[in-house]
């Protein structure tokens, strides 16, 4: 026997120009978002590789030699190494993958290679989700998946119109959707990660850090991105009470405030009396382990602990969006912690810097005995110092507090809180800096309060005997508008306020409210679907405490049913409402009742001959029906009258 090619085996089918174009469109769709993040030379190199392959496909030239491709690979890898100093990790890995896709394209001759590239495209779609999982991304990626699938269909049906291939891809997409939904909801979810996540993932996230130096909070506040959202049961607290507590900073080295090592509280005391609020928070991933709570939380949510200075800490780094429920009492008094060691730590001060501030504070202490009186004096001082609030604070030298208070007199909240806390410590009152967010914007659409990086704030807490740790916001003292009206109205108009925070763009903001309400639902229900949510959902449908076995069983049952449904659809589509066939079947049925059933493999001629032989009285009618049937079924251009005639003959066919 001759060894013959098998034209359905992808290894034996050469790629056509249409295939290359389909692949290139898919590749461009999936690599474009990466190309925007990658170094420019890589985007150019990848585009060149694509163009090269297109040219080869168009003028039928040979593919480049293996050595050439190896050289380009080495060059690309060297470039990536130069750029990142490593070949591993998220960004370099994905960039190399892009490069390899282009190179693979240049050595692809058959549909097998082309299909592998298409699968690689699917994979590149998923790598994109490492950076962003918003609704627009999802839509773009749907488009990409459709393009890739249509390209794959094109491999298997050459010479078919692109529109038809797209329709087939769409049909597959629609048929896949129910199974995808079932899998999404019921596939036993495991809490990741299974292994280490590359160091650089989430590297671009802005947010608070465990230290605070002049200028870095103002940097954070320039970002429009969302820190978290909070949904209150009932009315939310007014803006001036919305202090969202984050890292508490104790240790000051003259320039930078540091968090130090937090101590976990063994029990949480009831806070001072005040209005109580119940709410839930959806916190964005910020690659740290602290969580934000309205001051002062009465308990720690599940999976979190509280430190002695009142911070909420998640057990693990928050690498994905999390949701937690909380209750807080807005009293302005933090959790009591009057241990000697804490108070002593809250008084520690570098004596070598800021001599003017130290002198001022020590003067207050000499005049006044009572801590409350010193505090009142300090507050009065801050109010009267004519300090200005700006997002672009002037650079400060060695004595940051002195320069801010007496020379530049302009700063952002970190300057205010830093200076005030320094003054308090110098005056012998235990004080610490609290960072977090202040305010947040209620969305009129869904009443959810969105807190952005631009709401980042820092304030002070002082320990007053008998009252505990009392919140003092020096920014609010000097610039009352900050906590009443928010950042945008408090800084000079020339400051680079985040675009959408500008009051002039009211209409744009209302559009954004709508969009963010939708995004929030998306975050909560699609992106936030995790093992906990899965448990909730199953409990809701009556499957309490479902373990992975139950889930798997339910999953396979549903998938099996779906497949059966699809098969039923496929078979239903096959039943042709063909009147000729129906008439013939009816005729055969009539004869079958008389014991002359048609055999499966019996054609109309054989059958009618056999019937005529066994029922000689009917021979005429039988042969007429059979002849007409054969003519209609296998002849050219059946006429409607003939079909009607056949139906009439069959209807009138009687067996005595």
């Amino acid at each position: 026997m001759r060894a013959l090619g098998h034209p359905l085996i992808p290894e034996q089918r050469p790629i056509s120009l249409a295939d290359i174009v389909g692949l290139l469109v898919s590749l461009v769709l999936v690599t474009a978002p990466h190309a925007l993040r990658a170094p420019w030379w890589l985007g150019v190199l990848t585009a060149l590789l694509f163009a090269w392959r297109l040219r080869i496909a168009m003028n039928g030239a040979g593919l480049p030699s293996r050595w050439m491709l190896l050289a380009i690979t080495a060059l690309g890898m060297f470039g990536v190494w130069l750029e990142f100093r490593t070949l591993f990790g998220r960004s370099p890995g994905i960039i190399l993958l892009m490069l390899f896709a282009g190179l693979k394209l240049l050595e692809s001759r058959t549909h097998r290679d082309a299909s592998v590239i298409a699968f690689l495209c699917y994979f590149l779609v998923i790598t994109n989700f490492l950076y962003t999982q918003t609704i627009p991304t999802a839509l773009l990626m749907c488009l990409a998946v459709l393009a890739i699938t249509a390209t794959l269909v094109g491999f298997n049906a050459p010479h078919r119109a692109l529109r038809d291939n797209l329709r087939t891809a769409g049909l597959l997409f629609a048929h896949a959707a129910p199974a995808a939904l079932v899998l999404f909801l019921l596939f036993p979810r495991v809490q990741g990660p299974l292994w280490g996540v590359p160091q650089d993932s989430l590297s671009g996230v802005t947010g608070l850090s465990e230290s605070m130096a002049p200028g870095n909070l103002a940097q954070v506040a320039l970002s429009d991105s969302i820190a978290f959202r909070a949904e209150f049961q009932g009315d939310p607290p007014p803006q001036r009470l919305r202090y969202w507590r984050g890292p508490v900073l104790w240790d000051f080295d003259g320039r930078t405030w540091n968090m130090g090592f937090p101590e976990i509280a063994e029990r949480i005391d009831n806070p001072a009396p005040g209005p109580r609020f119940d709410y839930s928070v959806v916190l964005e991933a910020h690659n740290r382990n602290w969580m934000f709570a309205l001051e002062t939380p009465v308990s720690a949510p599940a999976g979190a602990r509280m430190t002695l200075d009142g911070q909420l800490l998640a057990r693990n780094t928050v690498r994905a969006r999390i949701r937690y429920d909380l209750s807080s009492v807005a009293s302005g008094i933090a959790m009591p912690d009057a241990r000697e060691s804490s108070l002593a730590r809250a008084l520690r001060l570098p004596r070598s810097v800021n001599p003017k501030a130290i002198e001022l504070a020590e003067g207050w202490r000499r005049d006044l005995r009572d801590d409350s009186a010193v505090l009142a004096r300090a507050i009065e001082f801050m109010r009267g110092q004519r300090l200005t609030y700006t997002l672009e604070p002037p650079l400060l030298g060695r004595d940051t507090v002195d320069e801010f208070l007496f020379t530049t007199k302009a700063g952002f909240c970190e300057h205010f809180s830093s200076a005030f806390t320094f003054l308090m410590r110098a005056a012998g009152i235990p004080a610490r800096v609290v960072t977090g967010y202040q305010g947040g914007e209620p969305n009129p659409v869904d009443r959810i309060i969105t807190v952005r990086q631009s709401d980042a704030h820092a304030w002070s807490e002082v320990h007053i005997a008998g009252r505990g740790w009392v919140r003092v916001d020096p920014t609010a003292l000097a610039v009352p508008g900050r906590v009443e009206q928010g950042l945008a109205r408090s800084v000079p108009n020339t400051d680079p306020v985040p675009y959408l925070m500008r009051p002039q763009l009211e209409w744009l903001r209302s559009l954004r409210y709508e969009w963010e309400a939708v995004s929030h639902k998306w975050n909560l229900w699609v992106l936030g679907y995790n093992p906990d949510r899965q448990r909730d959902l199953l409990a809701f449908v009556g499957m309490k405490d479902a373990d992975w076995r139950t889930l798997t069983a339910a999953l396979f049952t549903l998938l099996g049913l779906l497949t059966l449904g699809l098969l039923a659809w496929a078979v239903r589509r096959m039943v042709l409402p063909d009147p000729v066939k129906r008439a013939w079947d009816a005729f055969c049925m009539k004869l079958a009742t008389r014991g002359v059933a048609r055999q499966d493999n019996e054609g109309p001629l054989d059958y009618s001959a056999r019937v005529s032989a066994s029922l000689p009285g009917q021979a005429g009618a039988v042969s007429r029906i059979a002849a007409l049937y054969i003519q209609l079924r296998y002849g050219r251009d059946p006429k409607p009258e003939q079909v009607a005639e056949l139906r009439r003959l069959v209807r009138e066919f009687r067996l005595q």
């Binding site: 026997m1 001759r2 060894a3 013959l4 098998h6 034209p7 359905l8 992808p10 549909h111 592998v116 699968f119 699917y122 994979f123 998923i126 989700f129 490492l130 999982q133 999802a138 990626m141 998946v145 699938t149 794959l152 269909v153 298997n156 049906a157 050459p158 078919r160 087939t168 049909l171 597959l172 997409f173 048929h175 896949a176 959707a177 199974a179 995808a180 899998l183 999404f184 596939f187 495991v190 990741g192 990660p193 299974l194 292994w195 993932s201 994905a320 699609v526 936030g528 679907y529 497949t563 699809l566 098969l567 659809w569 496929a570 078979v571 589509r573 096959m574 493999n601 054609g603 054989d606």
Partner: protein, 327 residues
């Protein structure tokens, strides 16, 4: 069923496995049971990439990663059903195949009918034994002819044998196939070998071979040429002289009557070679416009001429020594 019991066991197991008993008469419907489907190699690569994507999604807690992975998994499932339906319920029937000579290709005609309202794309029809194949589109509600050219090297009645129908549409992740063995045969004549024709015999009745000296023909005169007349009988000399075409007429049928006899085939021992030479003679005699008859051991075809006669002679030669197949 009863016939099946007499078959050897492996053949019966094969029949059971493939779900039909060859050869199949009439129109063959590819029912669900007869269509097999397995993932192709590409399908396994696809599954592996999905697994990698799933693990990645778990590790990085990518909700949309899960969504995409599951979407693609669902697409694999849908693709399985689509590939299956692209083949299931296809109808196969066969057409007449014209006789051929050994050394040529038998041309079988298969007719595929979609039987459904959608086009069936990329259906491979492959003759299992010879590997002759064709990829075709079967449009909805239409009868599509598939010519299968199968090279032949033995004379006789060639059954079509097993034909595989395969498809991988739409994504190539699955391979669905089915076997049919329609009851279709092609008559294969022996390979013709051309030797000079034997001389005509004197009379039909005695069956004796007579050596006839040239000039012994009973020349009777000329008549005007008819297009059907053999060029051998054209009066070339008259044509050269007068420019008119005439046909020489002979009295009696002695000149046109020629017996092609098995026993008289010169210088050959093997049966096949004799048959080849007789085939060559039949073709030459027909072309010469002779009246010829054929004598084989156990079979005699009275002299005659024309396509039907020629076909009868060639069939007798093709089927010489072969059991008569049920047709």
């Amino acid at each position: 069923m009863t016939a099946g019991r007499t078959q050897p066991l492996p053949a019966r197991i094969a029949d059971w496995f493939y779900g039909f008993k060859p050869p199949e008469r009439g129109v063959i419907h590819l029912g669900h049971r007869r269509v097999y489907i397995v993932p192709s190699r590409l399908g396994w690569i696809y599954a592996t990439s999905l697994l990698v994507m799933l693990i990645g999604s778990i590790n990085f807690a990518l909700s949309l990663g899960f969504a995409l992975t599951f979407m693609l998994a669902g697409m694999g499932l849908a693709c399985m059903v689509h590939t299956f339906r692209n083949l299931a319920r296809l109808t196969v029937s066969t057409g007449r195949s014209d006789p051929v000579f050994v050394g040529e290709s038998a041309r079988f005609r298969l007719y595929l009918e979609s039987g459904v309202r959608f086009d069936r794309h990329s259906i491979l029809v492959r003759h299992v034994e010879s590997g002759a194949q064709l990829v075709i589109l079967v449009p909805a509600g239409n009868l599509t002819e598939v010519p299968l050219a199968i090279p032949v090297d033995t004379r006789g009645l060639l059954p079509l044998g097993r034909v595989m129908l395969e498809t991988r549409f739409p994504l190539g992740l699955f391979r669905a196939w089915s076997y049919v063995e329609p009851d279709s045969q092609c008559l294969v004549y022996p390979r013709p070998e051309f030797l000079p024709l034997p001389p005509s015999s004197g009379s039909a009745s005695d069956g004796q071979f007579q050596t006839l000296a040239p000039g012994n023909d009973d020349y009777a005169g000329l008549r005007s040429h008819q297009p059907s007349d053999s060029p051998r009988h054209v009066a070339w000399k008259t044509l050269a002289r007068s420019g008119e075409m005439y046909t020489k007429q002979f009295t009696g049928d002695s000149a046109a009557r020629l017996w092609l006899e098995w026993s008289r085939v010169p210088g050959s021992d093997s049966v096949e070679q004799r048959l080849s030479r007789l085939t060559g003679w039949v073709l030459a005699a027909e072309q010469a416009g002779l009246h010829y008859g054929l004598r084989l051991p156990g079979r005699e075809i009275a002299p005659g001429s024309g396509d039907t006669h020629r076909a009868a002679c060639l069939e007798a030669l093709a089927m010489h020594g072969r059991p008569l197949a049920a047709t």
